[in-house]
Subunit: 304 residues, 2 copies
């Protein structure tokens, strides 16, 4: 019998398998399976958020990428996850594994990119580790944050009938956008304060795989109006569904709130499109059976 | 002119350079340069601890190492850092970058090693990320913890005249001990509750480079009585100084407390040696001049 590899299993099934090996705890509000871990006593006024995210040379950036842009991206990725919970980022630790012959100036430039993102989004970099890598550069950032309990939005709170929205435009991240994106921190904080979504996540693997995850976590099916998906200039529908690394917000809102949201959004963020792209539906048999295991149709699977 | 590489610079100077690029913040008690970041308002009863640590295939373990042992080691390393501050570990996030053809069973075994360490030392694994690696396996763990403010021990509190102690025996980690070590969590918590050290750290790179770091952080010199260094069976002095990955505690204590500590230690931890190996001294010119930059004589430098 052939050995099952990570590529055979795929990312979602792998995560589901590994999750089942791990114990939970009394101060864990949400662990594996959402954008961040949510920690704290059930009734605490403020919950802690915790996220790690890695970028790897040859996978998330090419060797000729400007180090400052790599640093910016590496910190903005987990900031986007904290934003998707309705929270604010706080402290970061930077772990780097690098070849011994890497120019020190290259690494300083990478740190300047991290620091630029840290300053812009109110993060303090408080430590980290440098280790040796035998080959590719590996950069992992751990980020803490906090969210007032009433503002915390999970992936799992959506209900059938909720309208689905995305911010910005999707697709074409490989043209460069994936290195310079702005996490939707300000927009997410405004949303949870004014029109709290029932479920929210950031789009990192493409709406084609991320939307099924949000729907599955909410024990719903979904309807997606493909014509309504906002595309970046020159992008096909397939690209908008599957390129990934959009780092836009996807969220679910009760229909009675939609008109008010759309009006307020236009005056608050006049330059950022907000698109109603579909709705959550009653669960289909597939989503009922495998809630953590939705098919990654169209989207980016790290091991596929 | 030849480009300066990480190997030219060495780990301590690299960390000093990168630190200077980063801003600090009002809730940062200690950032880069100690075993963990210490976070929280100055007068909070409990401070938060934050640490990341990475192990890389071909650097920290060989490809034929049993995955369960790799997982155990990967979590025990940052637990050892939390212990060295006098704290207790709480929540961990696991970031893995792996080749697509890695057997899924191998990764499950690695997670079982992580979970075994988590259960033993009271840690909850609350999430993480799996990414693709083009080559070697990378495993980075972010660990939170907490410490009652009066128990928190930094590297920087030592004073001239303080006695220096190490727990256990040093050297020979490559014979296998580095994969199965027990972080001195219980011993460190007992110490900070009963004989609070003025300065403490865990020995990860070898006492030959770690002791100069503790002394420099405390703005002291040091005297090391090499004959008193407790060695593992079959180890030379050079191995005890420089093999690294001992994960024992090194700490500084006022001399008037030494007799009481040694008596209490023997009854509390009868099977773990405690050795008085020297003392902190008034600063030498070298340590005054380069407090974050002590020479890594004899010890392990990740980029050397």
């Amino acid at each position: 019998m052939r050995t099952t590899t990570l590529a055979d299993l795929g990312e979602d099934r792998l995560v589901a398998q590994l999750s089942s090996l791990l114990a939970s705890g009394p101060s864990v509000r949400t662990g594996i399976g959402d954008d961040c871990a949510v920690l704290g006593p059930r009734n605490a006024p403020l919950w802690q958020l915790l996220k790690t995210d890695a970028v790897v040379e040859g996978v998330h950036f090419t060797p000729d990428t400007a180090p400052r842009r790599i640093g910016w991206k590496a910190l903005c990725r987990p900031i986007s996850d904290i934003a998707a919970m309705g929270g604010s980022p706080e402290h970061a630790l930077v772990t780097i594994a690098a070849r011994r012959d890497l120019p020190a100036a290259w690494l300083r430039a990478l740190y300047r990119g991290i620091e630029a993102a840290a300053r812009r989004f109110g993060v303090h970099v408080v430590g980290g580790e440098t280790a040796r890598s035998p080959g590719p550069l590996f950069l992992s950032i751990a980020l803490t944050g906090s969210v007032p309990r009433p503002h915390c939005v999970l992936r799992s709170g959506g209900r059938p009938g909720d309208a689905l929205y995305v911010t910005g435009r999707l697709g074409g991240s490989l043209a460069g956008h994936h290195l310079d994106f702005i996490p939707r921190l300000e927009e997410a904080r405004w949303l949870v304060s004014n029109f709290k979504p029932r479920a929210m996540m950031d789009l990192s693997d493409g709406i084609g795989s991320d939307l099924p995850r949000l729907a599955a976590a909410s024990h719903c099916g979904f309807h997606l109006d493909e014509e309504k998906i906002p595309r970046n200039p020159g992008c096909s529908l397939a690209q908008a569904l599957g390129d990934g690394e959009d780092f836009e917000l996807l969220f679910a809102l009760p229909p009675r709130r939609c008109a008010a949201l759309e009006a307020a959004w236009k005056t608050t963020f006049p330059r950022l499109p907000l698109s109603r792209i579909g709705a959550l539906t009653p669960p289909t048999r597939a989503t009922k059976r495998t809630p953590h295991n939705a098919p990654a149709a169209h989207g980016f699977d790290h091991f596929a």
